[in-house]
Amino acid sequence: MSQAKEMNCEEYRHALTAEPGFKDESRHADDCVECRGYSAGILALDADIARAMKISVPELRMPELPNVDVVSFPARRFLSRPVWFGLAATVLLAAMVGLRLMGPGMDETAGTLEEQVLAHVDHEPDALLPSSTPVTDRRLADAVPGNIATMNRDIGLITFAAFCKINGQDVPHLVVQGERGPITILLMPYEKVAAATPLNGVNIHGVILPVGDGSIAIIGDREESLEDVQQNILHSVVWGT
């Protein structure tokens, strides 16, 4: 027979406001008049808020939908000159950070994770060439071994896959082609971050997303919309054991 975990007032109120449809299996409110009142107040307020928010919805106007290739990859675009200047500047920054990391008295954890990720984007210059040629399954499997992560190819057109190091740990480094050029993805199973961390470099932007006990960095051109890529990656990658 399973027994529900007992809750104190703080835990009960936290759970009540954290999850819609929270079930009080510990039956804390049965014995706590204050929490019973609190709960009734919250539920009544939320019911009113929901009624107030349920505004009438106009009839659906479907926009004119363009023809879409049923199996299509993002259009290949070559980077503009300012973007190349930006990438060149990032390479320089990477070189400076690299020299710093190799300097006397500095260990390999020098620099924040964000700095290291941004510096690493240009670690493999060939990776940043626009391409429509996918990497082979074998190369992808070598770069993303099962003990680090399992993933499928639904994250997009993967044109680069390699095994790199961040903070001394093995990190699969992938590049997928986005609408504005290459998007770098670093799978970092050992780098835990508390919350999504934005990344801003010269003409590039991105984010380090918390995923389980690790994180995944996604970086693309400043104009690139990364949300679809983020969703695809979060659905496609599972850490190994």
């Binding site: 936290h14 406001t17 954290a18 999850e19 819609p20 449809g21 919250i42 307020l45 939320d46 009113d48 808020i49 929901a50 009624r51 107030a52 928010m53 349920k54 505004i55 009438s56 919805v57 106009p58 659906l60 106007r61 479907m62 926009p63 939908l65 363009p66 023809n67 879409v68 049923v70 199996v71 299509s72 639904d154 508390a194 919350a195 999504a196 984010v207 919309s225 949300e227 679809d228 969703q231 695809n232 659905h235």
Partner: protein, 171 residues
């Protein structure tokens, strides 16, 4: 399956998803931008973008969150493009007013006005939780916040609503 069949199935899938989630998309957009006309534009753009990237949606079970995320992004794009001013509740346009006074229910209209007056940072998680039914963990992922921040915003949102509606009653 030939390409015509595949294209037809794709369109059917899209129509089915839109039929199911159009109301959620519109209400989310309307409470994000606080303007029914703009919300319609945002939803149009979101539908177009969803159509183009439909193949990225692997499971229909994840469609609602996927579509709402697109709405969120399109809303941000819309305001980035137009650099709209903050809404002043004493000086609303007709379509902003339409959001507040569509139902002849005094009590609900007071609450709706109080929701309208909430800061964006407080209103959005409240919409996602109370109207869309998401947990704080899911809201945190959508808004790129940690769960603690979402809980804090929800707590403050409810507190503000209580005080705003109490003020209405007192005045």
């Amino acid at each position: 399956m030939n390409s015509n069949e595949a294209a037809g199935n794709r369109r059917k899938r899209f129509d089915r998803l839109v039929t199911v989630f159009h109301a959620d998309m519109f209400r989310y957009a309307a409470w994000l931008c606080r303007d029914k006309s703009i919300a319609e534009d945002v939803v149009q753009e979101a539908l177009l973008r969803a159509w183009k990237s439909l193949d990225a949606l692997r499971e229909d079970a994840a469609a609602k969150q996927w579509l709402l995320t697109i709405v969120r992004r399109e809303n941000a794009r819309y305001f980035e493009r137009r650099r709209l001013e903050t809404v002043d509740i004493d000086n609303l346009t007709a379509s902003q007013s339409a959001l507040l006074a569509e139902v002849p229910n005094e009590e609900l209209n007071d609450l709706r006005e109080a929701i309208f007056e909430l800061d964006d940072d407080y209103r959005e998680p409240l919409v996602l939780q109370v109207l869309m039914g998401y947990s704080t963990n899911e809201i945190a992922a959508m808004m790129e916040l940690n769960q603690g921040a979402v809980l804090t915003r929800l707590h403050r949102a409810r507190s503000k609503l209580k005080s705003l509606t109490a003020n209405e009653v007192n005045s």
